[in-house]
Amino acid sequence: MTETSATDRKPASQLRRNWAKLRRNKAALFGGLILLIYLFTALFAPLLFPGSPSAPNLIMSLEGPSAQHLLGTDELGRSIIGRIIWGSRVSFMIAVGVVAVGLLVGVPLGLISGYYGGRVDFVIQRVTDMMLAFPGFLLALGLVAVLGVGLKNTVVSIGISMIPIYIRLVRGCVLSVREQVYVEAARAVGTTDFKIILRHILPNVMVPITVQTSLGMGTAILFAAGLGFLGVGVQPPTPEWGAMLGSGRAYLFNAPHVATFPGVAIFLAVLSFNLLGDGLRDALDPRFRI
């Protein structure tokens, strides 16, 4: 009984220690704060900006920032702040979706590849090599060319481009963990491979996965905005930051605010994920520090 409670206490104190380390990192806290603000705007968009962010109002087109429209209006007279607020929903949906695709496919394949080795490992690694032969954004762009434009295909394309990163990351960690004494001990007492992977290997590769997830969400937002900017991502009138920036490009000379503010929104969102990712890496595993 006493033994059980001691084991139960260990992860909690580890979590507290990590949280204390993270709390000392002011940059990471700043990143977390920006992220919370974005989450708040994404969740409460209908309250913060009631009405449709896509309804045009041509009389008000290309107005500069004012009390009525804090960040001005776009070429169709739509409030830019309203579209940024609603756009945070779209961007976060993409970020979560992309990371989910990467995690759900990449982590199991990385675990299998690293744990079993041999032919399975060889096949998975060669496919990974092929995918990594293309820079991530270009791979996503190529996939969009096949799958077509739109929100769903943006998520799938960027998600697939992230899979090899998770495979490599997880496999690398598994290779070192699988040789540990506790894994050998589990094998010796007849624990099934599935249970060993789930109970002994996976918890020990969670740190790099957590860090990569934070950084990956930032990259997902950046890639999605890039596709939107090129006109091959989320399509108008859906308020997506990259597409907003792309349409604002035509008015750079007479109304630069149209392209400026969505860019600030993208920048701050990516910055917050990068700050948090860096902070998590420093707090959870200083060996990975960049």
Binding site: A133, L141, G226, G231, P262, V270
Partner: protein
Amino acid sequence: MLQYVIKRLLSTIPVLIGISLLLFFMLRMLPGDPAQVLAGQMATPEEIENIRIQLGLKEPIYVQYGKFLARLVQFDLGRSARTQNPVTEEVWARLPNTMLLAVVAILLACIFGIPAGIISAVRPYTWIDYLVTSAALFGISMPVFWLGLMLVVIFSVILQWLPAGGTGTWQHVILPSVTLAAFVIAFIARMTRSTMIEVLSQDYTTTARSKGLKEQVVIVKHALKNALIPIITVVGLQFGLLLGGAVLTETVFAWPGIGRLIVDSILARDYPMIQGTILIFGLLYILVNLVVDVIYAYVDPRIHYD
């Protein structure tokens, strides 16, 4: 060394096969007839039939793939569905423009990124270190296309110093290459800093210092020489990111390179051209990685050629 280069060249074969498979199945994953897709919307039934015969669409899939490979090794990717010009002709015509941007950007990244990282590592946790690390973090978080547009607003619209887009003079190269370089400068600065901090704490650096060598000599001859190997790798790997960034930068500045070509082709669903641009991007990436590996082996004598 030659043996190493040959072995390294052979190791690119699986990746080349991967690229060919991707290009081959790309058309077959699309809904509809691949011959129609390749010929474009405006093609006549005769043209479509010709392409069907050329691709051997009625033959088994492995025969089709074999024929595809045979055409690929001859750089025969057909004609653009949009302009009817040979794909390779258009791709090769635009390649020097993209290479110019990429090379200038990499040079800028090395000139600014490496010294920034060294200064930051030599004076850790001082104001200059915080300045460099903050600027680098901003650099990697900034959307390249937004940075490009903001540079246009400042230097073309407000100050009217530089052209907003196009090509022709050296002034046209400045804004696109700076835009493209920003992310890589930031990344290289971060990498150089962390590598230098690690190297500066090694025993051989302490020995060099205790011998009474000047700090500059310790940093340049002892620390930087060892830190250079991972830095070279990162510079090489960043080339891939540069190619991705080139797509966006070329769009912002209406720069007539391959990046712009791939976007135009996707928007026009010009699949032969999409295949051509993807192929050239893949080959460039492989080639750069190969060159980096050879330099790597040359710089570090500890790397065995076998």
